[in-house]
Assembly symmetry: C2
Homo-oligomer: 189 residues x 2
Amino acid sequence: MAWKKEQKEQTRQRILESAADLFMLKGFEHVGINEIMTNAKLTRGAFYAHFSSKAELYAESIVTSALAMKDFLNPLHPSAPPFNSLISHYLSSSHMNGTSMRCPLAFLVSDITQQDAQVKAAYTKVFKGFTLYLKQRLEKQDDVEGGNAHSQSLLYAATMIGSLSLARALDDEALALDLLNACQHALES
Amino acid sequence: MAWKKEQKEQTRQRILESAADLFMLKGFEHVGINEIMTNAKLTRGAFYAHFSSKAELYAESIVTSALAMKDFLNPLHPSAPPFNSLISHYLSSSHMNGTSMRCPLAFLVSDITQQDAQVKAAYTKVFKGFTLYLKQRLEKQDDVEGGNAHSQSLLYAATMIGSLSLARALDDEALALDLLNACQHALES
DNA sequence: GTCTATAGAAAGATAGAC
DNA sequence: GTCTATCTTTCTATAGAC
Protein backbone atom coordinates (compact mmCIF):
# COMPACT_ATOMS: atom_id res chain seq x y z
CA MET A 1 0.00 0.00 0.00
CA ALA A 2 3.04 2.27 -0.04
CA TRP A 3 2.19 3.51 -3.53
CA LYS A 4 -1.10 4.93 -2.32
CA LYS A 5 0.62 7.05 0.27
CA GLU A 6 3.02 8.29 -2.35
CA GLN A 7 0.17 9.13 -4.70
CA LYS A 8 -1.44 11.29 -2.05
CA GLU A 9 1.85 13.02 -1.35
CA GLN A 10 2.20 13.88 -5.04
CA THR A 11 -1.28 15.37 -5.15
CA ARG A 12 -0.56 17.38 -2.03
CA GLN A 13 2.62 18.67 -3.61
CA ARG A 14 0.73 19.67 -6.75
CA ILE A 15 -1.73 21.70 -4.66
CA LEU A 16 1.14 23.28 -2.78
CA GLU A 17 2.91 24.37 -5.94
CA SER A 18 -0.29 25.69 -7.45
CA ALA A 19 -0.91 27.68 -4.27
CA ALA A 20 2.65 28.96 -4.04
CA ASP A 21 2.45 30.34 -7.58
CA LEU A 22 -0.89 32.05 -7.03
CA PHE A 23 -0.18 33.41 -3.56
CA MET A 24 3.09 35.00 -4.66
CA LEU A 25 1.43 36.69 -7.62
CA LYS A 26 -1.82 37.80 -6.00
CA GLY A 27 -1.42 37.70 -2.20
CA PHE A 28 -3.49 35.80 0.32
CA GLU A 29 -6.83 37.54 0.04
CA HIS A 30 -7.04 37.67 -3.74
CA VAL A 31 -6.67 33.91 -4.23
CA GLY A 32 -9.50 31.48 -3.51
CA ILE A 33 -9.36 27.78 -2.73
CA ASN A 34 -11.43 27.16 -5.81
CA GLU A 35 -8.83 28.85 -7.97
CA ILE A 36 -5.96 26.98 -6.35
CA MET A 37 -7.63 23.62 -6.82
CA THR A 38 -8.69 24.27 -10.40
CA ASN A 39 -5.11 25.30 -11.17
CA ALA A 40 -4.00 21.96 -9.68
CA LYS A 41 -6.54 20.08 -11.87
CA LEU A 42 -8.85 19.23 -8.98
CA THR A 43 -12.07 20.58 -7.50
CA ARG A 44 -12.87 22.52 -4.33
CA GLY A 45 -14.13 19.58 -2.31
CA ALA A 46 -10.86 17.67 -2.39
CA PHE A 47 -8.94 20.44 -0.68
CA TYR A 48 -9.64 19.52 2.93
CA ALA A 49 -8.33 16.00 2.46
CA HIS A 50 -4.88 17.60 2.27
CA PHE A 51 -4.92 20.80 4.32
CA SER A 52 -6.96 21.85 7.31
CA SER A 53 -7.38 25.49 6.30
CA LYS A 54 -6.38 28.13 3.78
CA ALA A 55 -4.03 29.69 6.34
CA GLU A 56 -2.17 26.41 6.83
CA LEU A 57 -1.70 26.13 3.09
CA TYR A 58 -0.46 29.72 2.98
CA ALA A 59 2.15 29.03 5.65
CA GLU A 60 3.44 26.00 3.77
CA SER A 61 3.40 27.89 0.47
CA ILE A 62 5.75 30.48 1.88
CA VAL A 63 8.33 27.82 2.65
CA THR A 64 7.81 26.21 -0.75
CA SER A 65 8.40 29.52 -2.52
CA ALA A 66 11.51 30.14 -0.48
CA LEU A 67 12.94 26.77 -1.48
CA ALA A 68 12.25 27.54 -5.14
CA MET A 69 14.12 30.83 -4.75
CA LYS A 70 17.02 29.10 -3.05
CA ASP A 71 17.33 26.70 -5.96
CA PHE A 72 17.39 29.65 -8.30
CA LEU A 73 19.91 31.72 -6.35
CA ASN A 74 22.17 28.95 -5.12
CA PRO A 75 22.09 26.12 -7.62
CA LEU A 76 23.91 22.92 -6.77
CA HIS A 77 26.34 23.60 -9.55
CA PRO A 78 30.00 23.08 -8.63
CA SER A 79 30.69 26.80 -8.43
CA ALA A 80 28.45 29.05 -6.38
CA PRO A 81 27.68 32.36 -8.09
CA PRO A 82 29.69 35.32 -6.86
CA PHE A 83 28.07 37.51 -4.24
CA ASN A 84 27.57 40.47 -6.55
CA SER A 85 25.72 38.21 -8.94
CA LEU A 86 23.39 37.18 -6.13
CA ILE A 87 22.57 40.83 -5.44
CA SER A 88 22.04 41.71 -9.07
CA HIS A 89 19.76 38.72 -9.62
CA TYR A 90 17.72 39.57 -6.56
CA LEU A 91 17.38 43.21 -7.59
CA SER A 92 16.66 42.52 -11.25
CA SER A 93 13.61 43.68 -13.18
CA SER A 94 12.70 40.04 -13.85
CA HIS A 95 12.47 39.48 -10.11
CA MET A 96 10.49 42.69 -9.75
CA ASN A 97 7.81 41.45 -12.13
CA GLY A 98 8.00 37.86 -10.93
CA THR A 99 9.13 36.22 -14.13
CA SER A 100 12.41 34.79 -12.84
CA MET A 101 12.02 34.15 -9.12
CA ARG A 102 9.56 35.26 -6.45
CA CYS A 103 10.95 35.93 -3.00
CA PRO A 104 8.10 35.55 -0.49
CA LEU A 105 9.89 37.86 1.95
CA ALA A 106 9.52 40.74 -0.50
CA PHE A 107 6.33 39.76 -2.29
CA LEU A 108 4.29 39.26 0.89
CA VAL A 109 5.91 41.39 3.56
CA SER A 110 3.05 43.65 4.63
CA ASP A 111 0.53 40.90 3.95
CA ILE A 112 2.10 38.77 6.70
CA THR A 113 1.42 41.37 9.38
CA GLN A 114 -2.31 40.64 9.02
CA GLN A 115 -2.04 36.85 9.23
CA ASP A 116 -2.22 34.39 12.09
CA ALA A 117 0.57 32.86 14.15
CA GLN A 118 1.42 29.89 11.94
CA VAL A 119 1.88 32.15 8.92
CA LYS A 120 4.11 34.58 10.78
CA ALA A 121 6.14 31.65 12.10
CA ALA A 122 6.72 30.31 8.59
CA TYR A 123 7.70 33.76 7.34
CA THR A 124 10.09 34.31 10.24
CA LYS A 125 11.69 30.93 9.64
CA VAL A 126 12.31 31.83 6.00
CA PHE A 127 13.71 35.22 7.00
CA LYS A 128 16.16 33.58 9.41
CA GLY A 129 17.28 31.21 6.69
CA PHE A 130 17.77 34.08 4.27
CA THR A 131 19.83 36.19 6.66
CA LEU A 132 21.92 33.17 7.70
CA TYR A 133 22.68 32.55 4.04
CA LEU A 134 23.66 36.19 3.56
CA LYS A 135 25.83 36.07 6.68
CA GLN A 136 27.73 33.06 5.41
CA ARG A 137 28.26 34.70 2.05
CA LEU A 138 29.42 37.93 3.71
CA GLU A 139 31.90 36.12 5.94
CA LYS A 140 33.60 34.78 2.82
CA GLN A 141 34.13 38.34 1.62
CA ASP A 142 37.29 39.99 2.85
CA ASP A 143 35.74 43.36 3.57
CA VAL A 144 33.59 42.33 6.50
CA GLU A 145 34.99 41.80 9.96
CA GLY A 146 33.53 38.68 11.61
CA GLY A 147 31.72 40.26 14.54
CA ASN A 148 29.60 42.51 12.33
CA ALA A 149 28.51 39.87 9.86
CA HIS A 150 25.18 39.38 11.63
CA SER A 151 24.30 43.08 11.59
CA GLN A 152 25.52 43.35 8.03
CA SER A 153 23.30 40.48 6.94
CA LEU A 154 20.26 42.19 8.51
CA LEU A 155 21.12 45.43 6.74
CA TYR A 156 21.54 43.66 3.41
CA ALA A 157 18.27 41.80 3.84
CA ALA A 158 16.35 44.97 4.71
CA THR A 159 17.72 46.87 1.73
CA MET A 160 17.23 44.02 -0.73
CA ILE A 161 13.72 43.11 0.42
CA GLY A 162 12.73 46.74 0.93
CA SER A 163 13.81 47.93 -2.49
CA LEU A 164 12.26 44.99 -4.29
CA SER A 165 8.90 45.22 -2.54
CA LEU A 166 8.86 48.99 -3.07
CA ALA A 167 9.75 48.66 -6.74
CA ARG A 168 6.80 46.30 -7.17
CA ALA A 169 4.39 48.79 -5.58
CA LEU A 170 5.33 51.83 -7.67
CA ASP A 171 3.53 52.67 -10.88
CA ASP A 172 6.54 54.55 -12.24
CA GLU A 173 8.80 51.96 -13.81
CA ALA A 174 11.72 54.30 -14.38
CA LEU A 175 11.72 55.22 -10.70
CA ALA A 176 11.44 51.57 -9.70
CA LEU A 177 14.52 50.72 -11.78
CA ASP A 178 16.37 53.71 -10.34
CA LEU A 179 15.60 52.40 -6.89
CA LEU A 180 16.83 48.89 -7.66
CA ASN A 181 20.01 50.24 -9.24
CA ALA A 182 20.77 52.60 -6.37
CA CYS A 183 20.48 49.74 -3.89
CA GLN A 184 22.45 47.35 -6.05
CA HIS A 185 25.37 49.76 -6.34
CA ALA A 186 25.31 50.46 -2.62
CA LEU A 187 25.38 46.78 -1.69
CA GLU A 188 27.94 45.62 -4.20
CA SER A 189 31.35 45.71 -2.68
CA MET B 1 -25.41 77.91 2.21
CA ALA B 2 -21.65 77.83 2.67
CA TRP B 3 -21.99 76.26 6.08
CA LYS B 4 -23.70 73.22 4.60
CA LYS B 5 -20.82 72.59 2.29
CA GLU B 6 -18.43 72.92 5.19
CA GLN B 7 -20.49 70.49 7.27
CA LYS B 8 -20.24 67.88 4.54
CA GLU B 9 -16.52 68.43 4.24
CA GLN B 10 -16.11 67.81 7.97
CA THR B 11 -18.04 64.57 7.78
CA ARG B 12 -15.96 63.48 4.82
CA GLN B 13 -12.81 64.25 6.76
CA ARG B 14 -14.06 62.22 9.71
CA ILE B 15 -14.65 59.19 7.46
CA LEU B 16 -11.23 59.68 5.93
CA GLU B 17 -9.47 59.72 9.29
CA SER B 18 -11.43 56.73 10.51
CA ALA B 19 -10.42 54.87 7.36
CA ALA B 20 -6.79 55.93 7.53
CA ASP B 21 -6.50 54.56 11.06
CA LEU B 22 -8.13 51.25 10.24
CA PHE B 23 -6.42 50.68 6.90
CA MET B 24 -2.97 51.28 8.38
CA LEU B 25 -3.61 48.84 11.21
CA LYS B 26 -5.39 46.09 9.30
CA GLY B 27 -4.75 46.53 5.57
CA PHE B 28 -7.26 46.94 2.77
CA GLU B 29 -8.97 43.56 2.77
CA HIS B 30 -9.45 43.21 6.50
CA VAL B 31 -11.41 46.44 6.90
CA GLY B 32 -15.02 46.77 5.81
CA ILE B 33 -16.97 49.88 4.92
CA ASN B 34 -19.33 49.05 7.76
CA GLU B 35 -16.47 49.14 10.25
CA ILE B 36 -15.09 52.40 8.86
CA MET B 37 -18.48 54.12 9.06
CA THR B 38 -19.30 52.83 12.53
CA ASN B 39 -15.92 54.08 13.70
CA ALA B 40 -16.83 57.47 12.22
CA LYS B 41 -20.21 57.44 14.07
CA LEU B 42 -22.23 56.89 10.93
CA THR B 43 -23.87 53.95 9.17
CA ARG B 44 -23.06 52.02 6.00
CA GLY B 45 -25.58 53.73 3.78
CA ALA B 46 -24.09 57.19 4.12
CA PHE B 47 -20.74 56.15 2.70
CA TYR B 48 -21.49 56.59 -0.98
CA ALA B 49 -22.56 60.20 -0.48
CA HIS B 50 -18.86 60.92 0.12
CA PHE B 51 -16.81 58.39 -1.83
CA SER B 52 -17.51 56.45 -4.99
CA SER B 53 -15.82 53.23 -3.91
CA LYS B 54 -13.73 51.59 -1.21
CA ALA B 55 -10.67 51.78 -3.46
CA GLU B 56 -11.05 55.54 -3.87
CA LEU B 57 -11.21 55.91 -0.11
CA TYR B 58 -8.13 53.74 0.25
CA ALA B 59 -6.16 55.90 -2.16
CA GLU B 60 -7.09 59.05 -0.25
CA SER B 61 -6.35 57.38 3.08
CA ILE B 62 -2.79 56.71 2.01
CA VAL B 63 -2.20 60.40 1.42
CA THR B 64 -3.93 61.29 4.69
CA SER B 65 -1.70 58.90 6.63
CA ALA B 66 1.38 60.29 4.95
CA LEU B 67 0.43 63.82 5.97
CA ALA B 68 -0.04 62.68 9.56
CA MET B 69 3.43 61.13 9.48
CA LYS B 70 4.91 64.29 8.04
CA ASP B 71 3.46 66.32 10.89
CA PHE B 72 4.99 63.87 13.30
CA LEU B 73 8.44 63.75 11.71
CA ASN B 74 8.75 67.35 10.65
CA PRO B 75 6.76 69.51 13.03
CA LEU B 76 6.42 73.18 12.31
CA HIS B 77 8.53 73.98 15.34
CA PRO B 78 11.23 76.59 14.78
CA SER B 79 14.01 73.99 14.74
CA ALA B 80 13.72 70.95 12.53
CA PRO B 81 14.85 67.74 14.23
CA PRO B 82 18.32 66.56 13.32
CA PHE B 83 18.59 63.93 10.63
CA ASN B 84 19.69 61.18 12.99
CA SER B 85 16.63 61.84 15.09
CA LEU B 86 14.44 61.40 12.03
CA ILE B 87 16.01 57.99 11.38
CA SER B 88 15.71 56.83 14.97
CA HIS B 89 12.08 57.90 15.18
CA TYR B 90 11.26 56.12 11.96
CA LEU B 91 13.02 52.93 13.06
CA SER B 92 11.65 52.95 16.60
CA SER B 93 9.69 50.15 18.23
CA SER B 94 6.76 52.53 18.69
CA HIS B 95 6.63 52.98 14.92
CA MET B 96 6.96 49.22 14.46
CA ASN B 97 3.84 48.57 16.51
CA GLY B 98 1.99 51.63 15.21
CA THR B 99 1.62 53.52 18.47
CA SER B 100 3.55 56.63 17.48
CA MET B 101 3.23 57.04 13.72
CA ARG B 102 2.20 54.80 10.83
CA CYS B 103 4.06 55.19 7.58
CA PRO B 104 1.81 53.92 4.78
CA LEU B 105 4.84 53.19 2.62
CA ALA B 106 5.99 50.55 5.10
CA PHE B 107 2.67 49.41 6.52
CA LEU B 108 1.08 48.73 3.14
CA VAL B 109 3.91 48.06 0.72
CA SER B 110 3.04 44.58 -0.57
CA ASP B 111 -0.66 45.30 -0.25
CA ILE B 112 -0.36 48.04 -2.89
CA THR B 113 0.89 45.63 -5.53
CA GLN B 114 -2.56 44.02 -5.60
CA GLN B 115 -4.56 47.25 -5.89
CA ASP B 116 -5.85 49.23 -8.84
CA ALA B 117 -4.29 52.17 -10.64
CA GLN B 118 -5.59 55.00 -8.46
CA VAL B 119 -4.20 53.34 -5.32
CA LYS B 120 -0.79 52.75 -6.87
CA ALA B 121 -0.76 56.35 -8.07
CA ALA B 122 -1.44 57.65 -4.56
CA TYR B 123 1.24 55.40 -3.10
CA THR B 124 3.78 56.45 -5.72
CA LYS B 125 3.02 60.10 -5.07
CA VAL B 126 3.68 59.61 -1.37
CA PHE B 127 6.90 57.74 -2.11
CA LYS B 128 8.14 60.58 -4.30
CA GLY B 129 7.36 63.06 -1.55
CA PHE B 130 9.19 60.95 1.00
CA THR B 131 12.34 60.54 -1.08
CA LEU B 132 12.34 64.23 -1.99
CA TYR B 133 12.21 65.07 1.69
CA LEU B 134 15.10 62.69 2.39
CA LYS B 135 17.08 64.15 -0.49
CA GLN B 136 16.71 67.67 0.87
CA ARG B 137 17.76 66.56 4.31
CA LEU B 138 20.75 64.68 2.92
CA GLU B 139 21.88 67.66 0.89
CA LYS B 140 22.15 69.65 4.10
CA GLN B 141 24.54 67.05 5.48
CA ASP B 142 28.17 67.61 4.61
CA ASP B 143 28.97 63.97 3.88
CA VAL B 144 26.95 63.66 0.70
CA GLU B 145 28.13 65.01 -2.60
CA GLY B 146 25.33 66.72 -4.50
CA GLY B 147 25.11 64.48 -7.55
CA ASN B 148 24.48 61.36 -5.49
CA ALA B 149 21.79 62.76 -3.24
CA HIS B 150 19.03 61.27 -5.38
CA SER B 151 20.50 57.76 -5.29
CA GLN B 152 21.26 58.15 -1.62
CA SER B 153 17.68 59.11 -0.85
CA LEU B 154 16.40 56.02 -2.67
CA LEU B 155 18.81 53.84 -0.71
CA TYR B 156 17.77 55.39 2.59
CA ALA B 157 14.09 54.99 1.74
CA ALA B 158 14.50 51.33 0.79
CA THR B 159 16.42 50.49 3.95
CA MET B 160 14.08 52.42 6.26
CA ILE B 161 10.86 51.14 4.71
CA GLY B 162 12.24 47.64 4.22
CA SER B 163 13.46 47.18 7.77
CA LEU B 164 10.30 48.61 9.31
CA SER B 165 7.93 46.50 7.23
CA LEU B 166 10.04 43.41 7.88
CA ALA B 167 10.19 44.07 11.61
CA ARG B 168 6.39 44.23 11.64
CA ALA B 169 6.07 40.86 9.90
CA LEU B 170 8.41 38.89 12.17
CA ASP B 171 7.11 37.04 15.20
CA ASP B 172 10.50 37.23 16.94
CA GLU B 173 10.62 40.62 18.64
CA ALA B 174 14.29 40.42 19.59
CA LEU B 175 15.21 39.80 15.97
CA ALA B 176 12.95 42.62 14.84
CA LEU B 177 14.69 45.05 17.19
CA ASP B 178 18.10 43.76 16.05
CA LEU B 179 17.04 44.49 12.49
CA LEU B 180 15.90 48.02 13.26
CA ASN B 181 19.08 48.74 15.22
CA ALA B 182 21.37 47.37 12.53
CA CYS B 183 19.72 49.60 9.94
CA GLN B 184 19.68 52.62 12.21
CA HIS B 185 23.41 52.39 12.88
CA ALA B 186 24.16 51.90 9.21
CA LEU B 187 22.14 54.95 8.16
CA GLU B 188 23.26 57.31 10.88
CA SER B 189 26.21 59.28 9.70
C1' DG C 1 -27.22 63.38 3.96
C1' DT C 2 -28.26 59.78 6.79
C1' DC C 3 -30.90 56.09 7.85
C1' DT C 4 -32.82 50.91 7.35
C1' DA C 5 -33.25 47.17 4.36
C1' DT C 6 -31.61 44.35 0.87
C1' DA C 7 -29.80 42.94 -3.51
C1' DG C 8 -26.17 40.23 -5.48
C1' DA C 9 -21.84 38.02 -5.49
C1' DA C 10 -17.96 35.64 -3.51
C1' DA C 11 -15.59 32.66 -0.51
C1' DG C 12 -14.38 29.25 3.38
C1' DA C 13 -15.77 25.16 4.95
C1' DT C 14 -18.77 20.83 5.23
C1' DA C 15 -21.92 16.69 3.79
C1' DG C 16 -22.61 12.71 1.47
C1' DA C 17 -22.47 9.86 -2.91
C1' DC C 18 -19.21 7.10 -5.40
C1' DG D 1 -9.73 10.80 -2.31
C1' DT D 2 -12.40 13.19 -5.34
C1' DC D 3 -16.56 14.65 -6.80
C1' DT D 4 -21.15 17.72 -6.71
C1' DA D 5 -24.10 20.31 -3.90
C1' DT D 6 -24.84 23.36 -0.25
C1' DC D 7 -24.51 25.80 4.22
C1' DT D 8 -23.21 30.00 6.19
C1' DT D 9 -21.06 34.21 6.51
C1' DT D 10 -19.28 38.39 4.82
C1' DC D 11 -18.97 42.23 2.00
C1' DT D 12 -19.62 45.93 -1.64
C1' DA D 13 -22.95 48.53 -3.43
C1' DT D 14 -27.77 50.23 -4.20
C1' DA D 15 -32.84 51.57 -3.22
C1' DG D 16 -36.00 54.23 -1.04
C1' DA D 17 -38.03 56.48 3.26
C1' DC D 18 -37.29 60.57 5.97
